[in-house]
Symmetry: C2
């Protein structure tokens, strides 16, 4: 029996995708082999790859003039690639909205003059700070659109003028409609909304590929290495990309990101509304900045946390433990989390409150 | 119906492994979720990870004093990581045995004084050159133990004295018994003998981890970043590691690498012996340096190549086209290629020779 998995990532995937992947495992569509066994240079695999890219372009409504790359190494590798590839003038600005922003900033500091122009560190990252107007001579401005640990998200994008906006979208890519033309570079580890861990999506505007990387940049950490070779300079994470393609087709079959966003807003509202009316549970996050994907919540008495978690697990509601920097609980409710899962969680929370609150 | 897949990588995997992965896809051992959906910080996943590492240690008979890392980015990323992490004195030696060696050398040159002390470029890499005694002040000597494109392999390892021997073992790891204590660092992309593309195995001797990486080295390209965090500094390619674990268990179930080597020698002999006695097919590779994994062979008349390939494909023998730098055909016969596959190939070759030779 499947559980409801509220993990922050790797995370729940659509059941239909898993069923299809399982059925196709030993023989993909009469090819006589598994997708895992296919040469990345073969026609049959190239078609899988192209289908995944097309589905991504369609789902995110990526305008003309952007390359899509399928890379490895996670967002953590992007933290270095961004300054190594984009620092032509030598100065960048970052917004600090939590743990992952901080990591991006620390890595950038090693390669580029890095200015943190806004931060919500003063209130343990429970809100999204105002982003001031940016110096137009910057190489780029970096934001984290959704903060997995703290449960915040940008609801309005900063206006950067001509400064390229670079965004870590790992935990809310394809979860709500975003105007991709506002971004110059978007990156996301796949393991939250798009598929299994092991692939990193990069959407990069063509003009950024004309910037010369720093001389010290390893070949594999240059965007052009991958953009000039259709992400096949070396063997890509083929099977992971295949699953990403299936997940994107599932998104399109739901009606695209707009339909998925509608469902996400309903799921999130169900949970936040219940929390807000409760005297026992509370959300640490400012209302207008709340994530649709990651919902941290606190029990009135933290001595009950362990009990809550063990009873939830017994009820098939798993991975609800909050991150240590926030405490309490966190329900990650990505695209693939069914409405029934959130309803079951709310029912469980009501019941727990009644018995123990 | 499954075909016999002679691709150079990604490549054939054991049918039993695929069947197991397919069956466990939607619900891994009653966990209620797919391995793809598991948090890498969960107990259930940590056990999968530890089992894979233990199986690798057992299969390769890795002595005490080595760390095993599961990384991303392929051998191509190692080409940079090795000089970035190991260059303390500032000089390394490389042996050039073909395309992948050359790529390793080109990347190393960007970071360290690189001396190519032996090469078989003079005869299009159809043999393994003698490696002279090495200067004991070198940071390391780098070799490629098996050359996927040219079909050669080191049958005797160079004696490096106290100089660390670093080896790209991507295409023959776990295919024959090797004395791991001879190596200071071994790396391999998983996608030939170990699993799907998307994970890179690094086996590194503890003393190499004490060398300070160059200041410019990105965090994700430092070995210590991963060795100090059990390969979980960030999210590893979890599902790929799970499949690698299944493949390693399959190797152990065959009787370990010694038993697999015996089968590999039989398969290779079947093919090489047939080629050598034939007047129609020929091997470009010097006998004593022939790979057990990748078998290039040439037809007497290259005008028949296209015919050979199309008839082979029709007979369920696929991906036999040779690399453009060698021409002709190449049969990659990794661990998971069954003896029946090689027998079927030899039968087909006999038949083709009779009809067209």
């Amino acid at each position: 029996m499947r559980v409801f998995n509220f993990a922050a990532g790797p995370a729940v995937l659509p059941e239909d995708v898993l069923a299809k992947a399982g059925a196709e495992m030993s023989d993909y569509k009469g090819s006589g082999m598994s997708v895992m066994e296919m040469s990345h240079r073969s026609k049959v695999y190239q078609q899988i790859f192209d289908t995944a890219e097309e589905a991504l372009r369609k789902a995110l409504q990526i305008p003309e003039g952007y390359k899509v790359l399928f890379l490895q190494g996670g967002a953590s590798t992007q933290f270095a690639m961004i300054p190594l590839n984009l620092a032509t003038k030598g100065k960048a600005a970052y917004v600090n909205t939590g743990a992952w922003s901080k990591k991006a900033i620390e890595e950038a500091k090693r390669y580029i003059d890095t200015d943190v122009i806004a931060s919500s560190a003063d209130k343990n990252f429970t809100y999204i700070p105002e982003v001031p107007a940016v110096d137009q001579s910057l190489d780029y401005l970096h934001i984290t659109t959704n903060n997995t640990i703290f449960g915040t998200k940008f609801s309005r994008l900063p206006n950067t003028g001509n400064v390229p906006l670079v965004a870590d979208m790992s935990s809310n890519i394809a979860s709500e409609v975003m105007d991709m033309s506002r971004f110059a570079l978007v990156y996301a580890g796949a393991q939250k909304n798009l598929g299994p861990a092991g692939a990193t999506i990069v959407v990069i505007r063509d003009d950024l590929l004309e910037r010369a990387p720093k001389e010290i940049t390893p070949t594999m950490l240059r965007y052009t290495t991958h953009s000039e070779n259709g992400s096949m300079f070396n063997t890509p994470p083929c099977y992971t990309i295949y699953i990403i393609g299936l997940v994107l087709e599932w998104i399109l079959a739901q009606g695209g990101v707009a339909a998925v966003e509608k469902a996400n807003r309903e799921k999130a509202a169900m949970l936040y509304d219940f929390i807000d009316q409760s005297g026992f549970y509370s959300s640490p996050v400012r209302k207008e900045d709340r994530s649709l994907m990651n919902v941290p919540f606190i029990l009135a008495d933290s001595a009950l946390d362990a009990d809550f978690l063990s009873q939830a697990t017994a009820a098939g509601l798993v991975n609800l433990k909050g991150h240590r920097s926030v405490g309490g609980m966190r329900a990650s409710i990505y695209n693939a989390m069914p409405k029934e899962g959130v309803a079951a969680l709310v029912d469980f929370m009501k019941d727990f409150e009644k018995k123990r609150g």
